[in-house]
């Protein structure tokens, strides 16, 4: 049950500001009807055809199945371009260090640059509170049972966040190396974060995510002496899947590599 308004709709997501009681409870478009267990199951390529005398017509559609999401993502992208908002979609497994990376980045980015953050998690405002404490305005999306952010959630969050022109917007996606790769949010670049404690065969195990990413940050390199992680192997595997993917090795803990990351971000503004 939703703590905010008590509704029991498990297909809703929540957009809120950290520490504030009022929040916007958005209902997802998805509706479920109760399955009728006695009815026929869906036939795939069955031979029986409808013998009605009504005219039967075939209509060519060629419609992308993620059409609805892509349309809204396109609207988001236009909004970002018109307002010179450099938007990054930050994705990783849970615990790779996305929020810590943002906290560390804010030390360098602020106060000279404007930074806004959209946080995505199933539950809690914990990450948005951390970002707020680090000095940036953040809004939290709680997806409930949802496993990824989508373009509509971002569009709704933007209405709450009121981002100024010529800003950075970081979207910290739900910790998940599978689903977020499929959903365009309207971002300029997709940033994939992995850490040296995760195993160097990650690219082979999660190829869709590595295919979708523009850059991969390898975090926690301060732990390399204590783990069996071959950085060259990771880069080689990832490059098989995505020949254009860039790499930056970082340690959020010791701040090694963070300046190189900030320079990469600043170069995005100059290119746009």
């Amino acid at each position: 049950m939703c703590e905010s308004c008590g509704c029991g709709n498990e297909h809703s997501y929540l957009i809120s500001f950290p520490g504030k009681k009022n929040s916007v409870h958005e209902k997802s478009k998805l509706k479920l009807s109760k399955p009728d267990l006695k009815s026929n199951s869906l036939k795939i390529n069955q031979n029986k055809r409808n013998t009605s005398q009504l005219e039967t017509r075939e209509i060519k559609l060629e419609t992308d199945l993620l059409h609805a999401n892509n349309l809204i993502a396109h609207q988001n992208r236009l909004y970002f371009d018109l307002n010179s908002i450099t938007t990054l979609n930050l994705m990783s497994s849970p615990g790779s260090g996305k929020t810590s990376l943002l906290e560390s980045s804010l030390k360098y980015l602020l106060p000279d640059r404007r930074v806004f953050v959209i946080e995505g998690d199933q539950q809690t405002q914990n990450d948005a509170i951390r970002i707020q404490n680090a000095g940036a305005k953040a809004v939290q999306i709680n997806t409930g049972n949802g496993c990824h952010l989508d373009a509509l959630m971002i569009k709704k969050a933007l209405k709450q966040l009121k981002i100024k022109k010529q800003s950075f917007l970081f979207i910290e996606n739900v910790g998940n190396l599978v689903c977020p790769a499929l959903f365009d949010l309207g971002e300029q670049k997709r940033v994939l974060l992995i850490s040296v404690t995760e195993g160097d065969d990650k690219p082979l195990k999660y190829p869709n995510m590595f295919q979708a990413a523009d850059i991969c940050l390898i975090n926690k390199i301060d732990l390399l002496p204590y783990v069996d992680f071959d950085i060259q192997k990771v880069k080689e595997y990832a490059s098989r899947i995505n020949q254009n993917i860039e790499f930056i090795e970082v340690s959020v803990k010791t701040e090694v590599g963070i300046e190189e990351w900030i320079n990469w971000l600043d170069n995005l503004i100059q290119k746009s």
Partner: protein
């Protein structure tokens, strides 16, 4: 998990088109899904079954064409079938290629009355 959302998108798009064509019923839909699209076909079939109840797509047949992955090797210009993103070119064993087919995720057509 998101196959249910995609099933709902399919039903919405089909319903819109059927309404536009003044159809009384959707008899069948034809989907094209690539092996590299990241979609789990069985989960999608199940989701369509559940989500189509009470809609114009209820009891419609669902034909799914599964597209194999096809890549073009930038190194030796070979076109080859690809199962996984990390496959190499069978001719020159290099990994520099462009995906030509296999990432499709679309409704090709619908059959209506």
């Amino acid at each position: 998990m998101h196959e249910l959302m995609i099933a709902q998108n399919i039903i919405d798009e089909v319903s819109k088109s059927a309404k536009k064509e003044l159809a009384t019923k959707v008899l069948s839909i034809q989907l094209m899904i690539g092996k590299l699209s990241g979609i789990e076909i069985e989960a999608l079939k199940f989701s369509l079954e559940i989500a189509s109840k009470g809609t114009c797509m209820e009891n419609a047949m669902v034909d799914i064409i599964i597209k194999n992955g096809l890549a073009f090797c930038r190194n030796c210009n070979t076109i080859f079938q690809i199962e996984k993103f990390y496959d190499s070119c069978p001719s020159c064993k290099q990994y520099s290629f462009q995906i030509k087919e296999g990432k499709e995720l679309k409704i090709s057509s619908i059959c209506i009355q």
